[in-house]
């Protein structure tokens, strides 16, 4: 399969469209679309696609975009949408509904800083604010991973053991607007990978029921428990979807966590998204210089791959977590997750948080070198370290 030069938005639009088209012999697909920078090209790609049995509905807001997808999913269609930043913030109420109804909707999210003040560059705060919702979450490093993970997400979300919506995130501009060589699968391959959809809870005429009534606390709680159990089944189902993908496409869509020289590493960097590419180069160079350093890229954020992370840090003494996101008063969100993973099982591990590239700042090799130097010098964890503010006055300041 020859690679083509496409942007992250193109890759996402291609994957969503091919997945929708693949359900043409069943109930087709439907999506609500609404523009917001920098994901607009995704929904515009979908709007142009010559579908056989998919309805694209250009709605009046993100709230409605997810609403239309919820209705379509309830009615048995494959359903999806794409959004970003404040669009996701406005969509939140329905994002939550999709999760609690266990609707296997796939959303591609271009990570962009939440406003105000307005800023259109990469920051994971928009999707990480959904971290407590029943959604599977993936963070991607390049355009191929965006395409492959989007296709995989449909299969995983629609798996009867799972039935949870899934989100695929990519960094604003660094991926959304950057062209990379990307293999675009043929429609027949996607057809084989994503079989016809038959949702168990679609509106069936033989058993009309009303969803969404008032229930007692214990009933609502048991629904939460079911979600928890489905979340627990995700890692195994993900592996199956991943191997099926490798078999069909001849390519690995990427493991839940991806390690680099962690086997004997005493210092480990933990990253996600596009920071991984830069960090890997820094680690490679330092390895060449004989340093005992490694890297973990976290692709699956929900459910958090705790066991895999613990395993990958077996030989580590110090861990640096680089976050392109910020939880107010706390620090980086991946950092928080890491600390809870080792609570009571690795308490002696030094896990330091670094806020890098927030609000779209560049994370350069020299910044990552700064992280390594800082980590090496410290003998205890402290408050997160903020990198990249400079004089805080922007380019002209």
């Amino acid at each position: 399969m020859p690679a083509e030069l496409v942007t992250g938005n193109h890759a996402a639009g291609y994957a969503l469209s091919a997945a929708a088209e693949a359900n043409r012999h069943a109930r087709g697909a439907t999506c609500g679309i609404y523009p917001i920078t920098p994901q607009t090209e995704i929904v515009e790609y979908v709007a142009r696609f010559p579908f056989s049995k998919t309805r694209v509905v250009p709605v009046e807001s993100e709230h409605s975009a997810m609403g239309v997808s919820i209705g379509a999913s309830l009615a048995g269609a494959r359903a999806f949408t794409a959004s970003s930043s404040n669009g996701i913030a406005y969509m939140v109420e329905n994002i939550m509904v999709a999760g609690f109804y266990r609707l296997p909707i796939v959303m591609v999210a271009v990570n962009r800083t939440l406003g105000p003040p307005w800023n259109i560059w990469a920051d994971q705060g928009d999707t990480l604010m959904l971290r407590d919702f029943p959604w599977i979450q993936f963070y991607c490093e390049d355009n191929q991973e965006v395409l492959d993970t989007t296709l995989l997400s449909f299969r995983l979300a629609e798996d009867r053991r799972i039935l949870l919506p899934a989100l695929v995130a990519l960094d604003a501009f660094i991926l959304s607007h950057t062209q990379m060589g990307t293999e675009l699968p043929e429609q027949e391959e996607v057809d084989r990978y994503l079989p016809d959809l038959d949702l168990p809870h679609r509106l069936r005429h033989e058993a009309p029921t009303t969803l969404g009534g008032l229930v007692w606390p214990n009933v609502a709680m048991s629904q939460r428990l079911e979600i928890d159990e489905a979340m627990e089944r995700v890692p195994e189902a993900f592996e199956e979807c991943r191997y099926a993908f490798i078999e069909e496409m001849g390519r690995d869509p990427g493991n839940a966590i991806q390690t680099f020289f962690t086997d004997d590493a005493e210092e480990v960097l933990v990253v996600s998204g596009t920071i991984a590419t830069t960090a890997r180069e820094v680690v490679r160079r330092r390895r060449d210089d004989g340093e005992n350093i490694g890297l973990i890229k976290i692709k699956m954020f929900r459910p958090f791959p705790e066991a895999a992370v613990r395993e990958a840090c077996r030989s580590a003494k110090k861990v640096a977590v680089l976050d392109r996101n910020y939880a107010a008063g706390v620090g980086g969100i991946f950092w928080q997750e890491l600390r809870s993973v080792f609570q009571g099982d690795g308490d002696e591990l030094l896990i330091q948080g670094y806020l890098t590239g927030l609000c779209g700042g560049d994370v350069t090799p020299s910044m990552i070198d700064e992280v390594v130097v800082d980590l090496r010098e410290r003998d205890a964890m402290d408050k997160p370290v903020w990198l990249g503010i400079g004089n805080g006055k922007g380019a002209e300041g």
Partner: protein, 317 residues
């Protein structure tokens, strides 16, 4: 807008400053060359200068869009908010600082798409403010997507095979909202009409909704061309209780006397779309304004005590 008496700003009002248009100019406007938003900005700066509105007595609230950059270019108070959400913010400001002149600037997407709920309810609240909808019939900032006012059949990036639905008529819709007290339409390419309409909206006691037809040479450059090239396709609604623009009579022969107190005629005129009608469709200052309906009653100390005593009496055993 009525001047609300307030000791807070009287001292400022009495000052000796004189404001020219340049005193309201802030950052250099970064709209495209030929964008109709420039004309609205100039007209607004002229209005403020003629009214000698002190910058600290004036606030511009906007949503998100090309048009919503407006507050950045005005040297007054400004609030550049969320897409579609300007009106509730303006409501809060006006309730707490009634002496401020509040102007709301929205795009068509802002006002009648994602923010449509607020437009309906702000009209019903009828608070004393000016709401401008800069209607280029497209989402400009996100680069060419169908909005509710995009003409049917018009190809955009979200409806590349032509816009599916008939365009919404925001004037008809606003006239249908309970408590609508001022509904006007103007075009930014006719500066005297734009100015007269802005002035009338400013002078209105209540919520003044103005749809401004606005050229976007970037994405909908052809949409208003016919009206610009053939003034006969435009009809001016004139009346002493509305706006009158004698300076335009030589060019705009197509004029109609319309009494803006007549809601039925207003609705009929707004419905028919054989020509584009500019002017004040409806205006009625007798409608209750939210800030009056919700004004806090003022009691004397004795009255307060007697109310309290009455309340205590209810629990007496």
């Amino acid at each position: 807008m009525s001047a609300v008496g307030c000791s807070l700003f009287c001292s400022i009002q009495d000052d000796e400053r004189e404001f020219g248009m340049a005193d309201y100019e802030s950052a250099r406007a970064r709209w495209c060359p030929g964008c109709g938003d420039h004309a609205v900005l100039t007209s607004m700066q002229r209005l403020l200068a003629e009214e000698q509105l002190a910058p600290e007595r004036t606030v511009f609230v906007s949503g998100i869009g090309c048009s919503s950059r407006f507050p950045h270019y005005m040297k007054t108070y400004g609030f550049h908010g969320l897409h579609g959400r300007a009106l509730p913010v303006a409501t809060g400001i006006k309730l707490h600082r009634p002496e401020l002149e509040v102007f709301v600037v929205m795009g068509d997407g802002d006002c009648v798409s994602i923010g449509a709920g607020h437009w309906v309810h702000a009209t019903r609240y009828n608070m004393d403010m000016v709401a401008l909808m800069l209607d280029n019939e497209v989402y400009g900032l996100t680069k060419n997507q169908t909005s509710p006012t995009t003409p049917a059949g018009y190809a955009t990036n979200t409806q590349p095979y032509g816009t599916y639905l008939p365009a919404m008529n925001p004037v008809v819709a606003t006239l249908g909202i309970t408590n609508a007290s001022f509904v006007a339409q103007t075009a930014e390419w006719i500066p005297p009409h734009l100015y007269a309409t802005l002035r009338a909206a400013y002078e209105h006691d209540g919520f003044a909704f103005v749809r401004i037809l606005q050229r976007c040479p970037k994405f909908t450059g052809d949409i208003f061309q016919q009206y610009i090239q053939s003034p006969d396709m435009v009809e001016l609604l004139e009346h002493e209780a509305g706006v009158e623009t004698p300076a335009l009579h030589a060019i705009y022969k197509n004029r109609r006397r319309h009494d803006p107190r007549d809601i039925h005629a207003a609705r009929q005129l707004a419905e028919t779309d054989d020509v584009v009608r500019l002017g004040i469709f409806f205006r009625d200052e007798s409608f209750p304004r939210y800030e009056e309906t919700r004004s806090l009653p003022s009691f004397t100390a004795e009255e307060r005590i007697s109310i309290l005593n009455e309340e205590f009496d209810r629990y007496a055993v």
